[in-house]
Amino acid sequence: MSDVAIVGIGIHPFGRHDLTGMEQGAVAVRGALADAGIGWADVQYAFGGSDAAGKADTMVSTLGLTGVPFINVANGCATGGSALISACNAINAGAADVVMALGFDKHPRGAFDPNPADWGLGQWYGDSGLMLTTQFFGLKIQRYMHEHGISSSTLAKVAVKAFRNGSLNENAWRRKPLSEEEVLGGPMLSHPLTQYMFCSPGEGGVALVLCRGDLASRFATDPVFLRAAVLRSRPFGSFEVFSPWLAPERGPSPTVGAASAAFAMAGMAPDEMDLVQVQDTESGAEIMHMAECGLCEDGAQEEMIQLGETEIGGRLPINTDGGCLANGEPIGASGLRQVYESVLQLRGQAGARQVPDEPRTAFTHVYGAPGISACTVLST
């Protein structure tokens, strides 16, 4: 699937804003169109969605009533990734040559408050105080630290890196650097994770213009090629959010399946990636997803992170824009933010946080309830 290029990128800053989520999405669309040097009327197909900010296709009333086919996508944290995959499929199927993929969201303050019935669970699960994503993250990293020797200091260093990178990103929400001591000293929300190790639900929007690869030179930007875009649900034996039970026989996560399929589709190996964005809903998630994506062995993260190898100037820069920790998590927009950042880096336009030595390859990964993962491989 190497024949799809990203030729336009747009973003509405993440954080807290007066605009509706939908309006933030429209800002991102206009940004992506301007970047590509085209108008809304040039878009032949669109895929987009949000988790909590309305139906994406209604924004045609402000973008222009061109009659463009516009399909709403709703797939939790993989909403953006699913819009991207759908856009690729439309291009590869010959249904359109120029396609928009977008995601946006706007969530109230505080942890998510899911309805158990929406997730196929009994009301008792929410009633009794078990239905919190934050608990899952605490439980998963607690076990992982026990099995693979990850320290609290390493958990903290992931957050410190995120806020440092975020301080270099004008579109990030949390832009104040924190020390390791400050991160470790924060209120313990879900042991072993403190407040500053968690991202917060937030707001923002991202849009991408994609086109058939051989048409990429017609647009205003240097193209970045989408070498793979893959989505997986969970296999038997994985350890997922909102699970009243687990199988004693452990199996791989949906991330393992999505990442390995993405690398296979791209014909590239994890060690060929010049920079990486992985879902860092909290510090532990970044650590575990490094191994699940095939970027390192289980347990190797301890030394890699202590040595600074995942910093912007390190061997494998991870979450160069500050990730979810510094940008917050508008569910529908998060996955496309990772792609936006990757394109910016591969174009050499990332400014103060630019990965040195002209990176040519990038990988992105999202994970979400009830056990889904979407990954992409990009290259110049």
Partner: protein, 163 residues
């Protein structure tokens, strides 16, 4: 819905069919899929591994070992949380996964823990099922749910096959 001691407040389970109730030695009720050996909690009608609809109820062991744990450090949003604490009265509670049996016929279940002190929780410690009140309903009845409590580290947990 059940007769208790006249002086005791009326208690109701958070849901029917999760655990044996009332019962001096309560057990969680799961589903066993004989074709695959898979056990789920709570009960479900088809096997998550094979799609088989051949299923039977199974009472899960009362004792097991703590597989992972955390402490819920802030008051969950209501809904869905049915607790009536306020941010002022909220007391953090433990949450864990408990391994009940192992291999075929084993299952790891998520549960509240009666212990909320990180220094007194460790992966692998033996625990036992208890039924605990956690809120009241609109009619003033105590609502009870299941939890696991630490027990002395005797051979009893091992004798049930947990590791």
């Amino acid at each position: 819905m059940m007769q208790l001691m006249p002086d005791a407040p009326t208690q109701v389970p958070v849901a029917d069919g999760l655990f044996t109730w009332p019962d001096e030695s309560p057990q969680l009720i799961g589903s066993h899929f004989p074709e695959s050996g898979v056990v789920t909690f709570p009960r479900q009608s088809s096997c998550p591994r094979t799609s088989s609809t051949v299923v039977e109820d199974i009472l899960l062991p009362r004792r097991g070992r703590l597989w992972s744990w955390t402490i819920q450090g802030f008051l969950p949003k209501s809904p869905p949380y049915a607790g009536r604490e306020t941010t002022q009265t909220f007391v953090p509670y433990g949450v864990g996964y408990v391994e009940l049996g192992s291999g075929d016929g084993g299952v790891i279940v998520e549960s509240r823990l009666t212990e909320n002190d990180p220094d007194r929780l460790r992966i692998g410690m033996p625990v036992e099922l208890v039924i605990v009140p956690f809120t009241t309903d609109d009619e003033g009845r105590e609502v009870v749910t299941f939890a696991f409590a630490p027990v002395a580290d005797t051979a009893s947990a091992d004798s049930e096959g947990a590791t």
